[in-house]
Symmetry: C2
Subunit: 327 residues, 2 copies
Amino acid sequence: MSDVAELAGVSTSTVSRALRNPETVSLELRARVDAATASLGYVPNSMAGGLAASRTRTVGVIVPSLVNSFFSATIEAMAEVLNGDGYQILLGNSGYTIEREEALVNSFLSWSPAAIVLTGQMHSRITLQRLLNADLPIVEMWELGENPLDTLVGFSHRAAGRTAARHLLDTGRQRLAFIGAAPEHDRRATQRGAGFSEAVIEAGFPAPVCITMPERASVEGGGQLIAQLVTTYPRIDGVFFSNDVLMLGALFECQRRCIQVPQALGLIGFGDLDFAAWSQPTLTTIRPPRREIGTAVAEHLLHRFHHRAGVATTIDLGFDLVFRGST
Amino acid sequence: MSDVAELAGVSTSTVSRALRNPETVSLELRARVDAATASLGYVPNSMAGGLAASRTRTVGVIVPSLVNSFFSATIEAMAEVLNGDGYQILLGNSGYTIEREEALVNSFLSWSPAAIVLTGQMHSRITLQRLLNADLPIVEMWELGENPLDTLVGFSHRAAGRTAARHLLDTGRQRLAFIGAAPEHDRRATQRGAGFSEAVIEAGFPAPVCITMPERASVEGGGQLIAQLVTTYPRIDGVFFSNDVLMLGALFECQRRCIQVPQALGLIGFGDLDFAAWSQPTLTTIRPPRREIGTAVAEHLLHRFHHRAGVATTIDLGFDLVFRGST
DNA sequence: CGGCATCTTGCAAGCGTTTGCAAATAACTT
DNA sequence: AAGTTATTTGCAAACGCTTGCAAGATGCCG
């Protein structure tokens, strides 16, 4: 930076200001600094900057999993907006455990990030305490419950489950089931299942059968669970899957067993993944605002960074029922 | 840190050493420092550390896309190993363009990372120059070509294409086609296609038909391309897809058109994604070492970090042909 | 028991920015 | 023209660690 300062014939403080807050430097000097910066190919040292300012242009983001395209889409969208403003994403993968999340929050905090984004509202006591002490914007995404830490961006999974139930009932199914994965880890999937059951019961139908597996959602698991379901409860005529991936496995298993979808069995999933619109038959599903969540989080943060004010909000992005061939 | 030092009754330099290089500190002091650290809940400031040491426990990783589960699996595996040793991943998404890659490398370098990991061997001149100047370990992954920048971890896509060709020919198909996506961006997919054609021609068969679309691989695209293929070239009896996702779309389209797979048309893909083993019929594919690449990269880097020596190598992780129902 | 090599420890000088403060300059007012 | 206010600039003190160097402590040898 002192090289740039010398070349531009100014002090390093002016260079720093010209780079961070251009509006506080006269037009002429700003131009000279920009020219010097460009001609030297100067790249500021982020750590020195971060140390001096005790905050960085970095946002720590923690998701439960990457191989799951729900969160990848959210992250991609978030990164696009954030990068456009010079912010970097520090990505962490909690593997659906709050212990890993705690460790990640800890190490992220050591980078003085501009904000922290978490998935869901379930955190360890220590995480909460550290986060609150840190005094920075916190966003919890993909869930919409009580007592947000700060800002919440998501939608109601319970409502999504209810919508699925109503859809199956509306299309004439009466004996329903819910198929899910990793219930003890994926709280949101569990909420969808709960909303589903709730709505079925409210409508005066028998409580749906609930079949789950401890592992994460997979095509294989979906196939196995549906096999188990149709064997044990042959009269079931409608199934809600906590995840489209499970539904895909079930669809293949139905093909193998010559179970007619949607005639004999109606299937509705969650996620609206790529394949749902092009399978045979196409798959009815609930579309969560995958990219929208990322965009909304990023825009909210950018807003707060610019107008250094604490405007904690709750943003409900809703979801859509996508009615297709499987129901 | 001075609080910890005071509590432990030592100097800050001893605390620093006890934390970074425990073996250089006596057992007794090390224990006292650890106790003080724990009781104060001290978390070192990474930026101060990075600034002082002019390097951080950070690895910059750039992938073309996240929604693609090839790279997500690699990153997850890499992160597991790296996190275990206290390293953080700084993740960037180049969107398959070398301009974004250049920008990302630039901003990563401002964090003095311990290493940089890139996808593929195609980089802009400026990227190359900056990287070489930076004097840090560089890994190019998922590709295995000439003139590595430093270390290479991957497998031969050309060989994968050749294997696919031989498999289709071995199973009696004679009129082959290749279906791919985003050829001008995804160089590796193109290499697979080239290897495929090459092997078909070498075996004395007519050059395969090549159909591609400009967008990235999607289930929809796979369906459309196969529709186009069977309409234009009805006599084709074997198809190699640059990506399992395309193959899945094609499978559904074949179901819609009542084209018997594998009897009338043999399908082989690339990726061995989750669904390939459980679809109906199951899908023959080439399995790339998705997680293995991540693990190998991480272990290579850890090795270099520990024994501060420059051991650039090339690691060929190979691939597997997974023979299933679609051929 | 003295001399020498090996371990441990503390001192203090950075690392490359940011930013409060004050000085210098410019722009208005009356 | 003097006084007041607003704008622009530079100075220099942090920011919280790491690490080369030297001093002190310990162990080993003949």
